[in-house]
């Protein structure tokens, strides 16, 4: 079935099986491999992207359901050579080790700051309930988001 929507500001289209997940379309059809498949049970958040301004789990959405929407992935954040403030904060505060959870963490954190520009530490930790990290123990992820909140 035909589908078309906007990804990182550019119109894209495809012909997909109904069961094609958005994450698979992004990775396999659009070669946007920054969005990751981590769990297949909708728990880990490595697949988080933004759809019409809201963070969602792209592994739990059909590509067909993105019809007519605006999708933003991790690849869509930086402006030419400069990192998005959230990306810069993760770099500055060492908010990643292996980096697998990081795109999802960043996309999720951007949504947090859109909803709540100055979150407490508890609010940050509660918001990240849908993003799992096996490497860092979350401390520097929280710090990164606190740093980004100051500059955003």
């Amino acid at each position: 079935m035909k589908v078309s929507f906007s990804v990182n500001g550019a119109e894209v289209s495809g012909d997909v099986e109904p069961r094609t997940l958005l994450v698979d379309f992004l990775r396999n059809d659009l070669s946007l491999t920054g969005t990751h498949v981590g769990c297949d049970t909708s728990q880990c958040g490595a697949c988080v992207v933004q759809m019409d301004g809201r963070s969602i789990k792209s592994c739990t959405l059909l590509a067909l359901q993105a019809e007519g929407t605006q999708i933003t992935t991790i690849e869509g954040l930086a402006e030419s050579d400069s990192l998005h403030p959230m990306q810069a904060a993760f770099r500055e505060e060492h908010g990643l080790q292996c980096g697998f959870c990081t795109p999802g963490m960043i996309m999720s954190a951007i949504d947090l700051l859109q909803n709540n520009a100055d979150p407490t530490e508890k609010e940050i930790r509660d918001w990240l309930e849908g993003n799992l990290c096996r490497c860092t123990g979350y401390h520097n992820i929280v710090k990164s988001i606190q740093t980004a909140a100051k500059s955003l």
């Binding site: 049970t41 963070s55 789990k57 739990t60 959405l61 059909l62 947090l112 849908g130």
Partner: protein, 264 residues
């Protein structure tokens, strides 16, 4: 997931027509339960009828002293609604504690209610608040709606359109969540109305239930102490790697007392 056909109708009538055409058709709203279930191959609908384009099904309003929430309203929107926070703050709390932010951005009240997961929050919310489920063809009281594990009073091809909730004098929802999934191991809604008190429990048993003994005791004395010695019988309760039936029975009393204490 196994292969399926897909339709995205833009009206309730079109959705009903699509459902009637195929026994194996299933509605998808938020998909936060259906897609994981299909990925595990525990469900295998031939056709998915995506109702997300039926805009008239979403929205929160107040009518004749009750809050009416459209079936397609996302948990995040219930949680963020000033109207809900103002009139039934326990419902906003309940919605805010479902899953995680991304699940809340897609998951819907209609989907949660139609699915009747034994560990979902809305069944306790609706029964505890004495709500009414509105469908394309009738109204069903919450007390009659949730019938068994994953089963409801809905007929084949019946679509939930909205949930109507009376405004309580006061109410609180306390949940003991699974740390990974954040589903309710036990969740208790306590609500006081002018003519009754309702105590509804999710997570403990195969289906949401009320605790009449607690409702009676709280009617005489609305304090945690009044229900401290009321034990529920956990013989038929759920038992899994997260909690034994006995522990769930214990948690029912703890969560109920916490809910009452929060209103003191």
């Amino acid at each position: 997931m196994y292969r399926f056909d897909y339709q995205a109708p833009d009206s309730i009538e079109a959705a009903l027509a699509a459902l009637r055409k195929n026994d194996e058709a299933k509605i998808v709203a938020g998909g936060m339960t259906l897609f994981p279930t299909m990925k595990l191959r525990l469900a295998r609908p031939d056709v998915l009828i995506d109702i997300n384009r039926i805009g008239s099904l979403a929205g929160i309003g107040e009518k004749d002293g009750a809050i009416v929430i459209g079936a397609l309203t996302r948990h995040a929107d219930v949680a963020a609604s000033k109207l809900v926070r103002n009139r039934i703050s326990s419902l906003a709390d309940l919605a805010e504690a479902i899953g995680d932010p991304q699940v809340r951005n897609r998951g819907t009240i209609g989907g949660s209610v139609a699915n009747n997961d034994p560990a979902a929050d809305y069944p306790a919310g609706l029964v505890g608040l004495g709500a009414t489920v509105l469908t394309d063809r009738r109204e069903i009281a919450a007390d009659d709606f949730f019938t068994d594990m994953f089963e409801t009073a809905l007929e084949d091809s019946e679509i939930i359109t909205a949930v109507r909730l009376p405004i309580p004098k006061r109410a609180a929802y306390m949940k003991f969540p699974n740390p990974a999934s954040r589903y309710a191991i036990v969740g208790v809604m306590v609500a006081e109305f002018p003519d009754e008190i309702r105590v509804a429990v999710t997570g403990a048993a195969p289906c949401v239930f009320r605790v009449a003994a607690m409702e009676d005791a709280l009617g005489k004395d609305f304090t945690p102490d009044a229900i401290a010695s009321i034990a529920v019988d956990g013989a038929e309760f759920n038992e899994d790697i997260h909690a034994s039936a006995e522990y769930r029975a214990h948690l029912v009393n703890v969560m109920a007392r916490r809910a009452v204490a929060a209103l003191g």
